[in-house]
């Protein structure tokens, strides 16, 4: 990929900055994101305010007197982590199903494709709500739920790629020199089929982060007091009139990261797959 691509640079810079801040959370923030230090004196402090104990609050405090910046940075761990892991699960399932359906022939291939179509027809939000209701809501559950409900488009992509690659001369060549079917699929076909998957994954991370925040907003995702951008927006909803900064900050962070993922995905697609019109849809 050309590094001159402004979109890629912007996307990588934003994601790297947020990821670094999340990893180094104890260094860039002061204290625990969940402590309610002095609930009387530090409640609803506006951005750039100092409390009576000398603590500085760049983004203000919420109704429990918790520092919004600290919660935002710790929340980034949840948002980025959930987004990345969920997409990893989707990519693993989607690539396996898609490669098997594309390379195998006969009833198994048909069955896998039919299963993918079936899963695509499931109403995702209802499914997410139901699955989240099944167990006690937690970040791990959100990862699994988002992962197992997001693999279908990737399976479709991989299936199409593998189908096309399986009839290429180099595959025939590999078969002629006696490579096993598994080896051909693993060493020769899959590496060539992964380009659209990388693009879909970059775009998928943004989507997964949005859905995680949505679930947490509805109260079936990451549970309080753990800081997550979605649950922060939800808790700021009730104090929108007197403390708008509580809901504004996590929303802006969310938009920034999702835009960065989308820009990176777009740039990757243009760089890796210049002719791909179909992948654009």
């Amino acid at each position: 990929m050309r590094l001159r691509d402004g979109r890629a640079l912007c996307g990588i810079a934003v994601i790297a900055a947020v990821a670094l801040a999340a990893l180094a959370a104890p260094l860039v923030t002061s204290g625990n994101p969940n402590t309610q230090a002095d609930i009387v004196a530090t409640r609803f402090l506006p951005p750039l305010a100092s409390d009576v104990h000398g603590g500085f609050h760049a983004l203000g405090t919420d109704r429990f007197g918790r520092d919004v910046w600290t919660r935002l940075v710790y929340g980034a761990r949840i948002s980025l982590g959930v987004g990345l892991l969920a997409v990893l699960i989707s990519v693993a399932i989607g690539t396996t199903v898609g490669a098997a359906a594309g390379y195998l022939r006969g009833w198994l291939s048909t069955a896998l494709l039919a299963f993918t179509d079936f899963a695509l027809a499931l109403p995702r939000v209802v499914l997410l709500l139901l699955l989240s209701a099944l167990w006690r809501p937690s970040a791990a559950l959100v990862v699994v739920v988002l992962g197992v409900t997001g693999w279908m488009p990737i399976a479709r992509l991989v299936h199409g790629e593998v189908r096309g690659l399986a009839v290429q001369p180099f595959v025939e060549g590999a078969r002629a020199v006696g490579a096993s079917r598994a080896r051909i699929l693993w060493r020769h076909i899959l590496p060539n089929a992964l380009t659209p998957v990388i693009v879909a994954a970059a775009l998928g991370v943004g989507n997964a982060i949005l859905l995680e925040a949505g679930l947490s907003y509805l109260g079936v995702g990451v549970q309080p007091p753990t800081a997550s951008w979605g649950s922060m927006i939800a808790s700021g909803r009730d104090t929108l009139v007197n403390a708008p900064w509580v809901a504004t900050a996590p929303g802006l962070a969310l938009v920034l990261v999702v835009v960065a993922c989308t820009l990176l995905g777009d740039a990757l697609r243009d760089a890796l797959d210049p002719g791909a019109g179909a992948a654009r849809r």
Binding site: D117, P123, L129, L218
Partner: protein, 325 residues
């Protein structure tokens, strides 16, 4: 064509059956019993058992499933456990609110998105294109519930222009004529604006991509070589061909008319299907969740079919390919 339609309808029926069965199993596997939730913590074990018996929840799962399916197919969608109202009535009264909201937002976001995408494709790789691209990516990335809150903060709490909750004012029943229309529009404004702003981002991105794909085709070069003006190339040659994928996308939006605004409805207390679904899942209102899921699944299948039919209608090549297949 007819034969493949019949096959697809059968496959669609199988998908709907599968979705409904899976939902039934998940719903009954979920912890939390509707009877317990309805009666609250002070209910005795006997009372819970009596209500479970009355709701037929103490029968074996396969029996419950078969009896639900039999009644559903005959049009008896049951009674909501939480509200006691017939499910059919609940969904029928909530549906127009969702459909009105989503249909208008789809219409607006397609019109605006197509316009923005066309401008971008016409001025591809210019500063304007880049600016509009960044704008559409940003709009597309906005979470509906957050944008809703921000617009509410701005237009309701600060500027005091628009109401933030519900589909009608407290006095709506006493209004007639223009005041009634104005009241409806004022309540519609915020949720519609939220959905449309996000929708425009997506459709503009899609429209730009579709237009650029067509612009790269040889026949566009031929048209230009013949001396056809650029406006005419765009409007007559490119836009028409780019509409085909846009129509596919529109067909796929059919299920959204029923359940496409879950988050936005939650923010604005909009009395639509999305809100009913969230509440029903939370209170384990089995009949409501089952009926809503079944309708959603039917609409997904119908939407896929509609997308293909629209594509075939808009593009003779697709029709030909279907005939050969």
């Amino acid at each position: 064509m007819l034969r493949s339609l019949k096959q697809r309808a059968l496959a669609g029926l199988a998908v709907v059956a599968g979705v409904v069965t899976l939902t039934f199993l998940l719903l009954h596997a979920a912890p939390g019993d509707p009877a317990e939730r309805l009666l609250g913590p002070t209910a005795t074990t006997e009372q819970v058992a009596a209500l479970r018996h009355a709701l037929e929840l103490d029968r074996p799962l396969p029996v419950q499933y078969a009896s639900w399916l039999g009644r559903f197919v005959r049009g008896d969608w049951g009674t909501s456990i939480a509200t006691g109202r017939p499910v059919w009535t609940m969904l029928r009264t909530a549906w127009p609110a969702t459909a009105r909201l989503v249909a208008l937002s789809l219409l607006l976001s397609y019109a605006l998105g197509l316009l923005v995408g066309t401008i971008q494709a016409a001025r591809s790789r210019s500063r304007l294109d880049t600016a509009l691209s960044v704008a559409s990516v940003t709009l597309f990335a906005l979470p509906g519930y957050w944008l809703g809150l921000m617009l509410m903060m701005l237009l309701t709490y600060w500027l005091r222009l628009l109401p933030a909750f519900g589909a009608a004012g407290m006095d709506a029943d006493f209004l007639t004529g223009w005041p009634w229309v104005a009241d409806q529009l004022r309540h519609l404004a915020l949720p519609l604006l939220t959905l449309t702003v996000i929708g425009v981002g997506g459709t503009a991105r899609f429209a730009r991509g579709a237009m650029l794909d067509v612009l790269a085709q040889p026949f566009v070069a031929v048209a230009r070589a013949k001396g056809v003006s650029e406006t005419r190339v765009l409007s007559r040659h490119v836009l028409r061909n780019a509409l085909s994928p846009m129509l596919t996308l529109l067909g796929l939006s059919l299920p959204a008319l029923f359940s496409g605004a879950v988050f936005v409805e939650a923010v604005f207390a909009w009395p639509g299907v999305g809100r009913i679904m969230v509440e029903a899942v939370q209170s384990r209102d089995y009949p409501v969740v089952m009926a809503a899921t079944a309708v959603s699944a039917v609409l997904v299948v119908a939407g896929n079919l509609l997308a293909d039919l629209l594509a075939a209608w808009a593009d003779p090549r697709v029709r030909g390919a279907a005939r050969e297949a």
